[in-house]
Assembly symmetry: C2
Homo-oligomer: 242 residues x 2
């Protein structure tokens, strides 16, 4: 794990790093030392580890005492794009332009990325927990849309993750992994989402095997999650990871 | 307004009172003085102002600094039962025993009680806000099931109510009043509710005209709302009334 830069502002320290080929960012409370709960933050499709929504969530969590890590997903942000990814992305755009239902198209894209994404996250989790200011405390995962699509196979495979905030995605391709998830989940739905069908979204919520799972639905389109949900997520992770 | 008893425990003072024919309870932080936000708490059908769930909510809100008031609904608790109410209640029980859909039956009962309930609440709100330890601060309403069915006409009629936690009820008989509600609402749904159909529940959420409204759905039957929703409600009212 190689650290590239370190800056602090508003009580939060932000460190850019790479682990092998994976570029990431670690946020901690300024002057943090000792073990603390860690949140893995997955960004949306076509976005990157420093997308505004990701950074806002990260700083909000870090201000509440958590360590937070985000990485660029395969073929996203500062990572090289493969020819095959380019072909799948072009098919997705063409399919959507032709009016095909996005559910299956998006699931195909996530399925292509998931194997690498899960391996990346597991390696980053191990490396980050070796740092003094993180340590091996409880771990949560937070990701919407593609962050949910790559998060569900990760959580299904990774017993270190103990709670998750997910959402903005339908059930396509995820039912089996969702049925292996038993940790507490908060699941966000945008009630007027033009990218994700409501019934497919509710079906993904239904597929989760967690005894404690809460659906939070708010009016508005895919990108309109109200900011108070980030505060609610702090409360959720505090309850389950502290 | 006549106070009957006053006891304090765990930092919360509980006062029983009557206002004309309406028996009620007021909870405040112990030694409270000065204006504070007030929460009106509506109990469920067949229950009373001192139902365990109502008292638990009230003490949780009062511990967070709110004044809280609950009253017996018409024909409930310590209030006399009319012959007409007895007839409607018997019809409701017989209809449900005969397998009729509860939605319309329950709506008929709530419709019978709503006019009196709204008048009771408005008088109690005025009287309680004249007390030193309450004052004319912002007001919220919290009620599930029948507490929602009587709360929706109240909130539609009462501009002093600025935020509400509602739920566990379907749209029957309530669409018009719901469409007049514009304050922020949190709406609770039990995902496996055997008394309230899921689609009727979602239709009541949809009918609310509020720009800010969030649906919280949890697994389980009508009575299985998880206790963390009470903590979340404290956060919601703090955000909107403080």
């Amino acid at each position: 794990m190689r650290f590239i830069s370190r800056t602090s502002s508003d009580g939060v320290t932000e460190r850019f790093f790479t682990l092998d080929e994976v570029p990431g960012v670690l946020w901690t409370p300024e002057d943090a030392s000792g073990t603390r709960p860690l949140i893995l933050l997955g960004h949306g499709g076509g976005q990157r580890k420093t997308a505004p929504a990701t950074v806002a969530h990260a700083r909000r969590f870090a201000a509440a005492g958590f360590a937070v890590v985000a990485i660029d997903a395969p073929n996203h942000g500062d990572r090289p794009k493969s020819e095959e990814f380019g072909r799948i992305a072009a098919e997705l755009r063409a399919g959507m332009a032709a009016g095909r239902s996005p559910g299956a198209l998006v699931a195909g894209m996530h399925g292509h990325l998931a194997g690498q994404a899960v391996a990346d996250w597991r390696a980053v989790l191990t490396a980050v927990q070796r740092l003094d200011q993180v340590g091996t405390g409880p771990v949560g995962y937070c990701g919407m849309s593609m962050g949910c699509g790559l998060g569900i196979p990760l959580i299904a495979a990774e017993p270190r993750i103990r709670a998750a905030v997910l959402g903005l995605l339908g059930v396509h391709g995820l039912a089996e992994d969702a049925a292996r998830i038993t940790v507490p989940v908060r699941f966000l739905v945008q009630w007027d989402d033009r990218l994700v069908r409501r019934d497919e979204s509710l079906a993904l919520f239904d597929a989760l095997a967690s005894a404690e799972k809460t659906l939070h639905a708010n009016p508005g389109d895919h990108g309109d999650v109200p900011s108070f949900e980030a505060d609610d997520a702090v409360g959720f992770f505090t309850r389950h990871l502290s």
